[in-house]
Every structure is written in structure tokens, then in C-alpha cells.
Symmetry: C2
Subunit: 285 residues, 2 copies
């Protein structure tokens, strides 16, 4: 183990090997990861230190380094460990249902959201060099497969899933940070802002701000997770529709070719029946 911190493949190995059977006493990777998750759950990722993990287990700090190369790799292991908690919805049917992508992606997003509520520090993990473990990749694969048969280009699928993921982290970070500040300062959010009267006195000069304030926009806010998720999925849906429509000369419903009129707007459907079917498929506005 000593000197392995620089070995790139060692981190991969730790993440991807199955949990070896080890009911023996003493330290073990699984025990360390579990203890670390407990610490991070309670005190956030910034409050996670090797010393605290070791103390919780009753060992010295440096003993951890016999099992984990360092703090960063420990966080990678924690991530993948808690992702195992969230079961994946079964893979989409072999014959993809049109429009099912949205429900699947939404379920995924809500599951991830739930996970971030249980382990808020997940959103605090930053940096572009965190190795994905098997559970992380499985989740990623699952989200990608949701948008696979939508007419999006490969790069667009990747971008769409990435956008949803980053949105999740951004929203979760909001909650984590308020919780952290309340925990560490002992002062609630309202109290803290309330004791800054001298700030609010200066905000009268801003017309829209005061309008929204007086209209109660800040008293009855939208749920920012729900709002953002809806907007982003709507935006993706619009893109998918646009990609669909660019399949010119093909009926949007049955896929048969459509004769294009010499002038005017090109037709989307091959028959009245298909147009009506599309109308019903769109559902009530």
C-alpha cells in the first residue's frame, strides 16, 4: 500500500473490485468507507477529515493510509458506496416507447435528488477527476439509455444528461450550504439575514426587486428543484421535437413517406388519421 498513492490503476482497482469477504476484526476498506460516510452525513464534506474517521473507528489517523491512498480516493469510494443504495429502475423496454424518455429521466433525477437529500455531501464533491465506480457508471448508463432513441445526436444525448446532472448538483448545493452554515454558526437563515437591516434599507432603489418583494414572490417561492427540472426537461423536449420535425418527408407517426406539396408548409403527417393520432398523443394542453 505504501507509495501506491501515485499508482493511477490502484484507485480504479479499489473502486471496481467486489467487496472481498472480510468479517475479521480490525480495519478494512469497507469499514473505513462506512465510517467516512457517517462523518460526511453529519458534518458535510468539508467536515470530513482523516482524523475524524480514524477516531470514529478507534484507530490512529495514519492507519487509514494502509487501506486508502488518500482523502480524494476515499471520497470516490464513498460516492460509489452510497450510490449502491439507490436501485436502478429496470432498463427501458426493448421496443422504446416514444416519449418515455421524459418519464425515465425524471424518475432518475428524482431518485438522485432523494439520494442527495440522504447524503448531502454528494453535491459537494467537486473536481473533474473523480473516478466513477461501478454504481456511478450504471446510473450514468441508465440516464443515457433513457434518451437514446429520441432522435438526438450522440453529442446531444451526452450534453442533455450532463445538463440534468449538473442541475441536480447545483440545486443540492444550495440546500447543503444553508444547512452547513446553520450548523456551523448556530444561527438560522432567517435570523442571519434578519440582522442585516442595513442591507435591506438600501434595496428600495431597485424597482423590480421591490415589486417582487411586495408582490410576495419571496414569501411564497417556487420549489426551485421542481421549477428547474420542469424547465430543463421542457427544453430538452423541445429539442427532441425539433429533431423529429427535421425528419422531413416522413410521417411523424407511422414513418411512411409523405408527399410534399409544391407550395406552402411541408406536411408532418401522411393522413388525417395520423394527424389525429398525433393530436391525441400530445394529450391535453
Amino acid at each position: 500500500m505504501r507509495g501506491r498513492a501515485e499508482d493511477p490503476d490502484h484507485g480504479v482497482e479499489l473502486l471496481w473490485r467486489g467487496a472481498g469477504a472480510e468479517p475479521r476484526p480490525g480495519l478494512s476498506l469497507a469499514r473505513i468507507v462506512r465510517a467516512a460516510v457517517e462523518v460526511a452525513d453529519a458534518e458535510g464534506l468539508a467536515g470530513l477529515s482523516m482524523r475524524k474517521v480514524a477516531d470514529r473507528l478507534g484507530f490512529t489517523t495514519m492507519s487509514l493510509y494502509r487501506h486508502v491512498p488518500g482523502r480524494d480516493q476515499l471520497v470516490d469510494l464513498m460516492r460509489d458506496a452510497v450510490m449502491a443504495e439507490q436501485p436502478l429502475t429496470p432498463p427501458a423496454a426493448a421496443a422504446p416507447v416514444p416519449g418515455a424518455w421524459r418519464a425515465t429521466l425524471e424518475v432518475c433525477a428524482r431518485a438522485s435528488w432523494e439520494l442527495r437529500r440522504r447524503h448531502p455531501w454528494l453535491a459537494e464533491v467537486r473536481g473533474s477527476r473523480h473516478l466513477p465506480g461501478p454504481n456511478g457508471v450504471a446510473h450514468y448508463e441508465h440516464m443515457l439509455s433513457a434518451v437514446r432513441h429520441t432522435g438526438l445526436t450522440p453529442a446531444e444525448m451526452i450534453a442533455a444528461v450532463g445538463l440534468v446532472g449538473r442541475f441536480l448538483d447545483a440545486e443540492a448545493l444550495l440546500l447543503v450550504e444553508t444547512a452547513r452554515q446553520e450548523r456551523e454558526s448556530g444561527v438560522s437563515e432567517e435570523e442571519w439575514w434578519g440582522s442585516r437591516d442595513s442591507l435591506f434599507e438600501r434595496l428600495d432603489r431597485y424597482p423590480t426587486l421591490t415589486y417582487l418583494w411586495e408582490a410576495g414572490g419571496y414569501d411564497h417561492p417556487e420549489d426551485s428543484f421542481e421549477f428547474g427540472l420542469a424547465r430543463i426537461l421542457d427544453g430538452i423536449e423541445l429539442l427532441i421535437q425539433k429533431r423529429d420535425e427535421t425528419r422531413d418527408g416522413i410521417c411523424q407517426i407511422c414513418g411512411k413517406p409523405v408527399e410534399t406539396p409544391a407550395s406552402g408548409r411541408p406536411r408532418k403527417y401522411c393522413s388525417h388519421a395520423c394527424r389525429q393520432r398525433a393530436y391525441r398523443q400530445r394529450g391535453p394542453a
Copy 2:
């Protein structure tokens, strides 16, 4: 100054008082903030320390505490200082142009994006208790005013602007983090991932992932900022349209009442002329 770290209003005062004329030698708030911005520009927010700022100015660490209550408040001051660099586009015309909200919001977003490219650490500022300064509030007010006359509810306006803002930070964080890791490790992103072959060997089991990989989705990715901004603005636009349409019985163009037919879909426009005008206003698909 000593012991003022606990005075809530002192932070507000520092942020909102105009820059007093102080061409004298020695330390000053403005000089400290300027030096701190330089350090953070070069080394990121994590690399910003009171010692480094003091060294750069040729003073001792503790001398800074005569002018700034602490590191957090210094960051607040830095934020507002760099926001002064970005000039605001002039306020929207008194008679709001329908549909102009999108262009305005997009210009705002791109300006903020540009600012984050110049000062990447802006995206690293976390926490829900950062005092806004005059420049920050001006930007916020400006974005809010962009969506003011769109038919959105107050809470929806706030949520929409917040969503765009958080998106900006999330995307910028992506760039900051890769830059930081490359700077601190001296290893480029490709090199780093390239030396993890043992990871990629395990990714064959994931069909969608390998499909996207082989289709070149990762070789020619979408610009994630452009992609995300377009999707989010599309999503907001859809909501605005929906809010518009719920103004039943009122012509979407001229605002005059529309007679509702006894059966069938309620009409959106009061006349052929208005319908045609709406068609042209939508522009080419």
C-alpha cells in the same frame, strides 16, 4: 476594527459605502481587495489565503485584519469589485417589447459567462450567506427586470432568474475545476484519464456508453454552456407561452377580447390579421 467581525452591519457597510478617496500610502481596503483578486485569478479561491495577499502587498498577515473582518467578507468585497467591470446593458425600454426578455436574459448570461472566464473563482464562491454588494444587486435587478412583463408570476420570475444564475455557476465550476487540477497536478486532463486504462477496459459492459463512445459523441461534444443555456431559455419560453395562453378570451396580439366559439378549440386571436401577425412574429421555424 478589532472585534468587529461579529458586527453584521459592518460587512454591509464595507460593501455599500462608496470607495473613499485614499491615495495615501500603506494599506487600504481597495488595495487589499485588488491584491486578493489577483491572487484568486491566478490560483483560484482555494489558493487565496490571507498570508498570500499580505505577502503580495508587503505587509504581515494580520495587518489585513485591520481593514477586513475576515476572509469571507473579503470574498464578498472581491465579488462586488469585479462585478463593476461588467457594464450593464441599458434598461429595457419603457414600453416592453414582447419576446425581448429572451435576448436580454441571454445577453446577461453571456456577460456573466465572460466575467467568469476572467475571474473563474467567482463560480467557486459558495454558501448562502454572501452579502450582495451594489453591483451584484444591480445585475440581479437587471435580470429580474428582463422577465418582468412576461406574464410569469413573481415567484416564477425569481425562480427563472435563479435557475439561469445557478446554471452559470455550475457550468463555470466545470471549467474552473479542470483548470485547477491541471495547474496543481501539472498533468493535463487527457493525460490523466489516459493513464487509467484499467477503467476504460471495464466500460464495455455498458451498451449505450459504448455506442456513444464509438459514435464519436465524446470526440465532438456539444458546447455544454451553449447547449444548456439554449435548453433552459427554451424551457422558460415554453412556460411564458403557456402563461400567455391561459389568458383566455383575450387576443394574444392586440389584447382585445375574443368571442369564444360554442364548441371546439378556443380561439387565440381576434382576427385573421392578428393571427398572421403572430405567425410572422414567431419567425421562421
